[in-house]
């Protein structure tokens, strides 16, 4: 029997990705169905449902689930779930579809899934604003009551995504027909929940931590992972390989950094690298809960939550994503005993702000280092990007040389591309 934490929801991995002849038949059937274009964000959710990453979800949510999730952190059947998973449609499409219809879901020309529509409802502007306030509004500076709606639509990509939703929602069970580019484009690190579970089991692990990663891995992330390795059987460095916001570093560069770091600074046997096909929602605390929830499906029992997890701007308090685990329903071990299958079992591994400290003579955090600001090597992402792209010297101990070299190369490439563009533009000008 597996010693790993069971998938969320008490029903095992609920896979709805079709294979083989079933897939061929369903694709054929889909040809005759009405096609609805879905967004890239909805596509990510769909693939996660397909591979069991969103177990026990195998459907886009109806209105009751949407409301229950927003207000009570649970599906209408009482199963813990932290964020809405919605499929939206234009008024025109919605008018053309009746409850009971089968439809085909398409994204950028690719057939992704079929769905049996069992509910259709309007997603009013009021509902969108309610979701933003309940799910995306934190306790950080930008979320202050008098400020949130001034700042959010421009600076919060998650809020924009909700506000830009089409005006109708379609709910229903899905059959997923494709995992898109992930199995090929990221063939070395794209792992489905059943695959990570098999890897963990083969290694004999029972307690597994996950590091959520959407930025290059520096020593502060390395330190988070190493704490996890000290106290768990192993760690999965789990990169988001879906869409990020503009300016973030692409997945292939991040993966190369991780490879290099693991090779030079980790005991190979205690670390697994993987990627998951979801887009960022930037929902801060709520997204931290989602990260723990789907990680449980991947076989992870401890989700590393550092500072400003899944945050953006100053929308969330620095440790709000840690604190939320203490106040949600159904997330303690006691609750898990009372409502088997419905509670979140993957627990947070909360770690404070980490850095290198000269006096500590090693990595430390605000919880372990009593020294002053001047003893610590701390660098903002913005400052680091500037240093890397301008070829400036990075302070000692901040990153591993091999990793910084990869990032420098990436930024130099970017600069070259810009220069080529500018040259082309200039020569174009000249030819006129």
């Amino acid at each position: 029997m597996s010693k790993l934490v069971p998938p969320h929801g008490g029903k095992g991995l609920t896979l709805c990705l079709l294979h083989g002849s079933e897939l061929v038949a369903e694709k054929e059937r889909a040809e005759g169905l009405k096609k609805i274009e879905i967004t890239p964000g909805e596509r990510g959710d769909l693939i996660m449902m397909g591979i069991g990453g969103f177990s026990p979800l195998t459907r886009f949510m109806n209105k009751a689930d949407w409301q229950s999730v927003c207000e009570k952190f649970m599906l209408s059947d009482g199963t813990f779930w932290p964020v809405p998973v919605m499929m939206t449609a234009t008024k025109e499409d919605a008018d053309a579809i009746s409850v009971g219809n089968d439809i085909a879901l398409v994204c950028n020309g690719e057939l992704m899934a079929t769905m049996k529509v069992d509910e259709k409802f309007e997603m009013t502007e009021d509902m969108k604003r309610k979701e933003c306030e309940l799910v995306y509004k934190g306790e950080g500076e930008d979320s202050a009551d008098d400020k949130f709606w001034d700042v959010a639509p421009e600076d919060h990509p998650g809020v924009i995504r909700v506000l830009n939703r089409k005006p109708y929602c379609l709910a229903g069970e899905v059959k997923v027909l494709s995992e898109g580019e992930f199995p090929t484009k990221f063939k070395d690190i794209y792992l489905r929940p059943a695959e990570t579970r098999a890897i963990f089991e083969e290694k004999g692990w029972s307690t597994v931590a996950a590091l959520q990663l959407r930025n290059p891995m520096h020593r502060s992330h390395e330190y988070l992972c190493k704490i996890a390795v000290e106290v768990c059987d192993g760690v999965i460095i789990h990169s988001l390989i879906g869409a990020l916001k503009p300016g973030d570093i692409p997945a292939d560069v991040r993966v190369k950094c991780i490879d290099t770091l693991v090779k030079g600074y980790f005991v190979d046997d205690n670390v697994v690298q993987g990627g998951y096909p979801l887009d960022m929602r930037y929902a801060g605390p709520r997204e931290a809960l989602l990260h723990a929830t789907f990680r449980q499906n991947y076989g992870v029992s401890r989700m590393i939550i550092g500072r400003d997890h899944a945050g953006v701007g100053d929308f969330y308090g620095m440790f709000e994503a840690q604190e939320i685990f203490d106040r949600i329903p159904y997330a303690s071990y006691e609750d898990a005993c009372k409502v088997p299958g419905k509670a979140l079992l993957c627990q947070p591994l909360k770690i404070d702000w980490t850095f290198y400290c000269h006096k500590c003579d090693g990595m430390a955090s605000m919880r372990t280092c009593p020294h002053g600001k001047d003893d610590r090597v701390i660098l903002s992402g913005t400052k680091l990007r500037k240093m890397l792209s301008e070829g400036g010297d990075i302070p000692d101990h901040f990153g591993r040389d091999e990793v910084l070299a990869i990032l420098r190369e990436y930024y130099e490439g970017l600069t070259e591309k810009v220069e080529i563009k500018m040259q082309k533009a200039a020569s174009g000008e000249a030819m006129k």
Copy 2:
């Protein structure tokens, strides 16, 4: 309601140390009782029972408990307990005492307790050998089947203690009348379970780790503590202030080292220093279980178990004290649900061999550092003692300078004492 782990055994802290008028009256009554001399080891166990450190134990064990503990890790009522807690008597004393008698327990002239004897039994040589084999025999080199009885009586202080027991055991409930020198001699760090619990609660902690310490605290111990601080609400550096084996460093020097280290290298608010009045048994894995059991009474939920915990010589496998937690009965959370009150709730925080590594550029363990022997700063206790007492240079990064200075001073003092003794001896010779 306290968020701390409840005391072991499901009965709260079972205190049997008397106070005030009750104490005065019992002391008076004890004057008229037959006095039995107990050993220093038995005295330590007695004080732990008095202050609730051994909850739910308030009695020296009878034969059924002794056998059940040796063979099944539990008292005869099914409560988890890892080591025998026995009171022994000479044949002469045993002959003079009948079941039902009240007796007074005395150690080095001090009245320590009264006991109502409810069972008297012979502790045969066979029983002693059986206890040694079941409780003290590990899987290390010195414990190899063909070797244990050759090596143990000389080199294993715990085995010696069992073999030297007087031939009878007296069992019964105790009333403890004194905590000996601990509240005065160690007034700054002697803390009773109710006191550590009050401190932890005031700090708002729920998950608390304990570091067991009987040696000076170097960076490897500091690292264990800091990992614990990263993942728990706080840590108690818990020093044994009872008796050690000859050659070990006395408690006051160790406490001074810890003070210095905490002051310079810890965030004060995350650390508590305490001492407990027990002697070492050197029972390795079984003692690690005892350490977790009584720590639970102090409010500790995670017991740090490093390499060769509570070991001596090569009697135990390097990580045997970690592995035992996986195979004892009643020590998993599932068991805790099935047999409430009887299971051990304090879980191990297992950490591998730790050291400073130049390539890692900080502290690391065998689980996190992939580098070679030459990159690591590792020093045996014997080698360190030699360097300290001979004034040699300690390798960089091994310890904190302030702590090493205290140890140097201690060893210099030792050398002076030896020199004075030798001078006295020499002048005595000369005077003859």
